[in-house]
Amino acid sequence: MKRAKLANFLIGTPTFVWLVVFYALPVLIMFLLAFKPVDANGGIGDGWTLRTVMELRNPSYPSIIWRTAWQGALSTALCIMMAVPISYQLARMAPRWRNLSLMLIIVPFWTNFLIRIYAWKVFLHPHGAFKTALVWLGLAEPSTQLLYNEWAVLAVMVYTYLPYAVLPIYAVAEKFDFSLLDAAKDLGASSFYAFRRVFLPGIANGIWTALMVVLIPALGAYLIPSLVGGPTSELLGDKIAQRVFVDRNLPHASALSALLMLAVFLPLLAGLVLRRLREARQSTEAERQAPAAAKEVRP
């Protein structure tokens, strides 16, 4: 017994040490550097200061933070609004078509991230076919700029994160018992009512996962706004990179990063707690409904 414990300790230690040194410690340094001053040649000064944190009240930040939150929420909502009907359709399709469609959704997901953004730069290019078609249809002026604004950022974000939203929702929808929907409709519910009151609660777990896996990278988005966004569509990620690579002000970059870290982890914790509560409620309900079965499963 004791030997097994020692063996397990030895197996677990290398990764533990690695993650403490290269993950936990860096995050700690990030929070600490927010309270350090910057020195003249872009290094870290001596002593401690609250100035950097105070500078976050600089009037340009609230609008950037607001835009980051708003863009993140909007792209997440659009992804989920598309992913739910897509997953429904995928789950009800004949297996042959389902596998083909699923593969077509997965391929962009595995394609290099930069290639996907590049494709959008070509697509929205001022001399591109899409722009030409819009002008011909009278939907855009020849001077309309499709790239380098917040709409381009939003489109590319939805494009990038849509597969992230489809996969977890589809994984749950695939196991959903569709005869429940037929039953609801036989009892007089409309298609939409049955969808809303039977299907959506049935796939709620998948929607939660999709919400997390889309919203979190969207809040930290840096590459997309820096490549297809403009000066009026900067997000928090752009500002962090600017502070590192342009101004070489590491304490300031740390303060912004710490803020982003809190913005990501606080809702995540809230989400986890809510989920635990819901699961606990569901399992007590399940036990009430089938006490004998529940007892059999538990050893």
């Binding site: 397990n8 533990f16 290269f22 359709q89 596998n99 930069l114 730069k121 899409f130 490549l227 990501v264």
Partner: protein, 277 residues
Amino acid sequence: MSRRCNRNSRFPFYVLMFAMVFLYTPLVMVAVASFNASKYGGAWKEFSLKWYVQLFHTGAIWEALVNTLVIALLATVFSTVLGTLSALALHRSRSRLKGIYYALVHTPLVVPDILLGISMLLLFVTVMDVCGGWLESLFGLRLELGMTTVVIAHVTFCLSYVAMVVLGRLKEFDNSLLEAAQDLGASGLYTFFHVTLPVIMPGIVAGALFAFTLSIDDFVITFFVKGAGDTTLPIYIQSAMRRGTPPVLNALSVIFLLLTFGLVFVTQNLLSKGKSE
């Protein structure tokens, strides 16, 4: 309104079709542009393979590709070993520290990559600040950002993915197999190499493939921890993209897309075969 007429709404089907058009229009346009002799996608000039020829003559791309593959191979080896070890430890542990260990392995998956990148940059900068001179005078070691720091960063973010995939496989694992082996007198190590390892092997391979792909795909973390002259393929593409849409990238995109299609097709087939057996 009769119930029968909205029984099978076509709406989800239309959304799926819209998504397909949305996902593939930009990619198809890049593919078409890659065969266009004109520099701009708007006007078709004539069919040409000149951008592919140019791609094969751009030395910087090949150099970047070699760097990318070396980094990805090293990161895959280290992260697969570390990730698998941590999955085994997590699976067998009954310790109270398990929760902390699990959080340490799991949370890098949800931290936005820009934060992983900047925090590791801050670590390297702080270490160079605090003990850089000291290490150099004592051991002649020069600490600087470069390929080593990139590999360290890649190992760090890849190992969590490996650990989660292997842990998933371990959870499906039938513990009675272990008990049977031990009842028959097998030692701990013998059981590990002849029972546990073969069973979790598909998980380890899947995790390694995952790590390899993630490492090749990464731009943000590499960008933060790389040295001044280092390029990987994503870094090359990004710097080329800042100057517009050079047509040679169209050709590169098409090659990438074909490779991805091939890989996804093969793995899908393998998976569906594994399921039907």
